[in-house]
């Protein structure tokens, strides 16, 4: 039993949330916010020290394990490789920013929002570091509950419909994964005589036809979460109704759990199946890219519009991971980070506009750059990042995905390219509608950005640009692990 640093990072937010819950009767909402922000910043600082001791490509590190349910072969085991490390950094980076966007936010029960966000952070971090399938599933499902409350309590007018839809869709996907992971452990017991839920031990499981349906059952859970066509319909509703902080985390981290699951479990546990179906999966991803992009073009609601850009961008993740090439998978993982930062920023931007104008109708906006010039510069950077402009992270990641698709089948790359073009079209159209042209009635006097709002956008924009101009270290961080996963397909299937 060795518990330490990683466990501390994972459970720090939940611990803070528990303390806040106990104290909440006695302290003010302001104190709660400060405590919540403090805890999440502390988690970020702890997580930021991880890369210094990390050796890229050397498999799982900072591994900690303890007996949990020994009779069932279930242990508490956590550790990070490059991919999970990147996700941990993304999560701890985005949560404080999301808390900041909610600073002036909802007037009812502000304490509850902070508490829910902190519990959610623990669940998300747990998903990214779990090395035991049972533990992973616990965190995976537990993350639904705070999000259910975040959308349902602090959301918009149709919040209850949205939150139930979100819950039922994602739960429907994940219960199939539960059946699959039990079956996988039982299959492994049949082969080896040992009952275990340890990720690294289960990687060796082979079993002909059985692993194929296990692969698809895992895939169902992740496909709903990411979401890919045709399981995406919960996303626009959830995004539209969620409060800003919820949208930032939903787009920034929760969707990434789907992509992470695909690479860690679908590809990591069943590499030969992933290899076999890579063409079909890549097509599914490309369909998402094009469909999402086309849907964006016809949206009249600002948040729905941004939600559909997520469908399109996450299509790149699916296509990249499916390509099963080093470039494509690396691009897919990088696209997750890039989308997390850019779309997180986009939702923050939309939230800031909504707080000032109180409508999500696209047609109500226009000419905002004249009223809020400083805001429009930050918005421009976010827009460019989201469309994958060179110099931003989106460019690198989408380029790598296209490269991977090209290697798999040049035609696929050709099919995906219109997505890039469409992204430029819809992002620029959105920028023009909102920012340029004559100032719409009622928008003449908008409050300038507060310091914290500038900070949130500037930090996210900086992240996008840093990865965009200096992608080397990030790719290096994940490359070794991707090679290992691809190498896994070499064995007998």
């Amino acid at each position: 039993m060795n518990l330490g640093f990683l466990t501390m990072i994972v459970f720090l937010p939940a611990l803070a949330a528990a303390v806040i819950t106990i104290l909440s009767g006695r302290i003010s909402a302001q104190t709660v916010k400060v405590m919540g922000l403090g805890a999440s910043v502390l988690a970020l600082m702890l997580a930021a020290t991880l890369p210094s001791g990390f050796i890229p490509g050397a498999g799982f590190q900072f591994v900690e394990s303890a007996d949990w349910i020994p009779t069932l072969g279930i242990s508490y085991k956590v550790g990070v490789d490059g991919i999970s490390l990147l996700m941990v950094l993304l999560t701890t980076f985005l949560v404080p920013l999301a808390l900041l966007t909610a600073w002036g936010g909802p007037t009812k029960n502000e304490k509850g929002l902070t508490i829910s966000m902190l519990f959610l952070e623990t669940a998300m971090l747990g998903v990214f570091v779990s090395l035991d399938l049972f533990l992973f599933y616990m965190f995976w499902e537990a993350s639904l509950i705070p999000m259910f409350f975040i959308i349902g309590v602090w959301g918009g007018a149709r919040r209850i419909h949205a939150t139930l839809k979100f819950f039922l869709f994602t739960m429907a996907g994940s219960v199939l994964m539960l059946v699959a992971l039990i079956s996988l452990a039982l299959l492994n017991r049949q082969n080896t005589g040992v009952l275990t839920f340890d990720y690294t031990l289960l990687q060796a499981t082979r079993g002909g036809f059985a692993v194929k349906w296990l692969f698809w059952a895992f895939f169902a859970a992740f496909a709903v979460k990411i979401p890919t066509l045709p399981f995406h319909t919960w996303l626009p509703d959830a995004h539209t109704e969620a409060p800003t902080a919820g949208s930032v985390i939903l787009a920034g981290v929760l969707l990434k759990m789907g992509g992470y699951g695909m690479i860690r479990f679908c590809a990591g546990l069943f590499p030969s199946v992933a290899l076999e179906y890579r063409l079909a999966l890549a097509l599914l991803g490309i369909a998402g890219i094009i469909y999402g992009a086309l849907m964006v073009l016809v949206q009249k609601d600002l948040k729905r519009l941004v939600a559909y850009t997520s469908v399109s961008h996450m299509g790149f993740v699916v296509a990249g991971l499916a390509s099963f090439t080093v470039a494509g998978m690396g691009g897919g993982v990088l696209q997750m980070v890039s989308h997390g930062l850019a779309t997180g920023a986009l939702f923050a931007v939309v939230g800031m506009l909504y707080e000032r104008v109180h409508t999500r109708e696209l047609s109500a906006y226009g000419g905002i750059s004249r009223v809020m010039p400083q805001f429009s510069w930050l918005f421009l950077v976010v827009t460019l990042a989201s469309m994958g402009f060179p110099g931003t992270s989106g460019f690198i990641s989408e380029f790598m995905v296209l490269l991977g698709l090209w290697k798999l089948q040049p035609l696929l790359a050709a099919l995906a390219v219109p997505g890039v073009v469409l992204a430029a079209v819809y992002m620029l159209m959105m920028f023009r509608t909102l920012m340029q042209g004559p100032v719409k009635k009622g928008l003449e006097h908008l409050a300038p950005l507060e310091g914290r709002e500038v900070f949130v956008l500037a930090v996210l924009a900086a992240g996008v640009i840093i990865i965009g101009v200096w992608p080397g270290p990030w790719i290096e961080l994940i490359q070794g692990d991707i090679l290992r996963i691809i190498g896994g397909a070499g064995g007998p299937g």
């Binding site: 009779t71 499902e141 537990a142 639904l144 139930l164 199939l176 539960l178 039990i182």
Partner: protein
């Protein structure tokens, strides 16, 4: 009296304590009419004494009373759960009795007798003994259900319960009679050969016990009984009656070796699928909380069959864990219902509106119980379902597990529907918030804490159940 009888007596001490307490209270009630406080305290003291007696007679006795009872690990686990539900429903009855103003002594003593009966069912290994204990409980239940003679819902509950439980007993008697020749006796044992007589008898017994476990299609009494019955009693029926039913089921089909009877797998398959689907789908359409919980309990019984299917007499941990978690969830949610009733409202889904603002602790406890009923981590309901699915999968019931996960997803719609008004809707109504009765508060807080702690550290449940099973 044979020496064997005398030496067996300590083992049955808990039941004797409960029965004696009940009779003394009845006798006292003939001359004085004790108030609710006194009666409930009397009941609680008796229950605690019975708990002490269980600890005293903890060493398992394989067979006693000439092989009619077996005080083994399975019996101890079942009896402990029954006793826990008894204490909880006594705690809930105090405010209810104060309000209803009915015969306090009779209510409490019948409840104690029912407890003794259901505890006996858990230890019976002979059909005659089992029936005697079962009828003790059933008659006591019907008596309490019918106490509010002026209310039509209460009369309906009593009559439905009485008639259908008589049917159930008739099924068991008939089955036992048919099995007498193949088994060569009234023991809960498997027949030597599975001819058609033996199979018929086994099926009759399965049907009879299914009434007690509220397995579809033998569930019809539950919704009306739950709706019309006094909530403290319904909490007891919902938890303890099912515990006793499943213990008897486990004893006959697993420990007795009757589990492998021809067509048995198919019979249990049908019972499980129907219970899960019917329970879940009907619960979706209910607006009365107690009816909703009746259907929810029916679907939970379906999951319990899953735990049961892969089990064997040496591997009952999935069944015991599910029963323990189910008991905690049921008592927790009925404690919430009883608080709502104390507020003077009919327990409808809508009456939960604004609960998080009015009673934040109770709302949080309700949230934990609902998350657990849905089968989501980190509450213990998830681990119970996980074990059940694992057992069923390792026994090869993949189709059944797929139905179960489908039902789980639909069930999220039931349980989350209660959290929506509680947390997400506000009413202008500032219902005067009287302090929650301490008994009810203790139960819903205790149940939520139990579900969270055992959900995060499931090995506690595993080792607890192994404490009873492995000797």
């Amino acid at each position: 009296m044979t020496p064997g009888f005398m030496s067996s007596l300590p083992a049955i001490l808990p039941e004797l304590v409960l029965a004696l307490g009940a009779i003394l209270l009845l006798a006292w009630g003939m001359f004085h009419s004790p108030d609710a406080r006194f009666s409930v305290r009397w009941g609680l003291v008796t229950g605690v004494l019975a708990l002490g007696a269980m600890a005293y007679s903890a060493s398992p006795v394989e067979e006693s009373f000439a092989g009619v009872m077996a005080f083994d690990g399975l019996a101890s686990a079942g009896r402990l759960l029954v006793l826990a539900s008894l204490l909880a429903s006594l705690l809930l009855s105090h405010p209810w009795l104060e309000k209803a103003g009915m015969q306090n002594a009779e209510f409490v003593s019948l409840l104690l007798l029912a407890g003794a009966g259901l505890m006996g069912v858990c230890a019976a290994v002979n059909w005659i003994a089992l029936l005697v204990f079962l009828e003790t409980a059933s008659v006591a239940f019907a008596g309490i259900l019918g106490m509010r003679r002026d209310e039509s819902l209460s009369r309906e509950a009593a009559v439905k319960y009485f008639i259908l439980s008589a049917f159930a007993s008739a099924f068991i008697i008939f089955g036992a009679a048919v099995l007498y020749a193949p088994v060569r006796g009234f023991g809960l044992a498997a027949p030597e050969t599975w001819d058609s007589t033996a199979v018929a008898g086994t099926l009759f017994i399965l049907a009879g016990l299914s009434f007690k476990c509220t397995l579809v299609p033998f569930h019809a009494w539950a919704p009306d009984t739950y709706e019309g019955g006094p909530t403290p009693l319904v909490a007891f029926i919902a938890s303890a009656s099912k515990v006793a039913g499943f213990t008897a089921l486990a004893r006959f089909f697993l420990a007795g070796g009757a589990g492998s009877f021809p067509g048995g797998g198919a019979a249990f398959w049908v019972l499980a699928v129907l219970s899960m689907l019917v329970g879940t789908v009907f619960a979706l359409t209910q607006s009365n909380l107690k009816r909703l919980l009746a259907y929810s309990g029916i679907s939970q019984a379906g999951y319990l069959v899953l735990a049961f299917l892969g089990a064997s007499d040496t591997r009952l941990e999935a069944v015991l864990v599910y029963l323990a978690v189910y008991t905690a969830m049921t008592l927790g949610v009925f404690a919430v219902v009883s608080v709502l009733e104390d507020e003077g409202v009919t327990p409808e889904v809508g009456s939960l509106t604004g609960l998080a603002r009015r009673r934040p602790v109770m709302a949080a406890a309700l949230a934990v119980v609902m998350v657990s009923l849905t089968g989501l981590p980190p509450a213990a309901g998830f681990f119970a379902k996980f074990l059940a699915f694992r057992e069923a999968l390792s026994a090869g019931y993949l189709g059944l597990v797929l139905v179960a996960v489908l039902a789980s997803v639909i069930s999220a719609g039931i349980y989350l529907r209660l959290l929506v008004p509680a947390f997400m809707e506000q009413d202008g109504d500032d219902r005067r918030v009287a302090p929650v009765a301490p008994g009810a508060a203790a139960i819903f807080v205790g149940s939520a804490v139990f579900l969270l702690v055992t959900g995060i550290f499931p090995s506690l449940l595993v080792s607890l159940s192994n404490l009873f099973l492995i000797r």
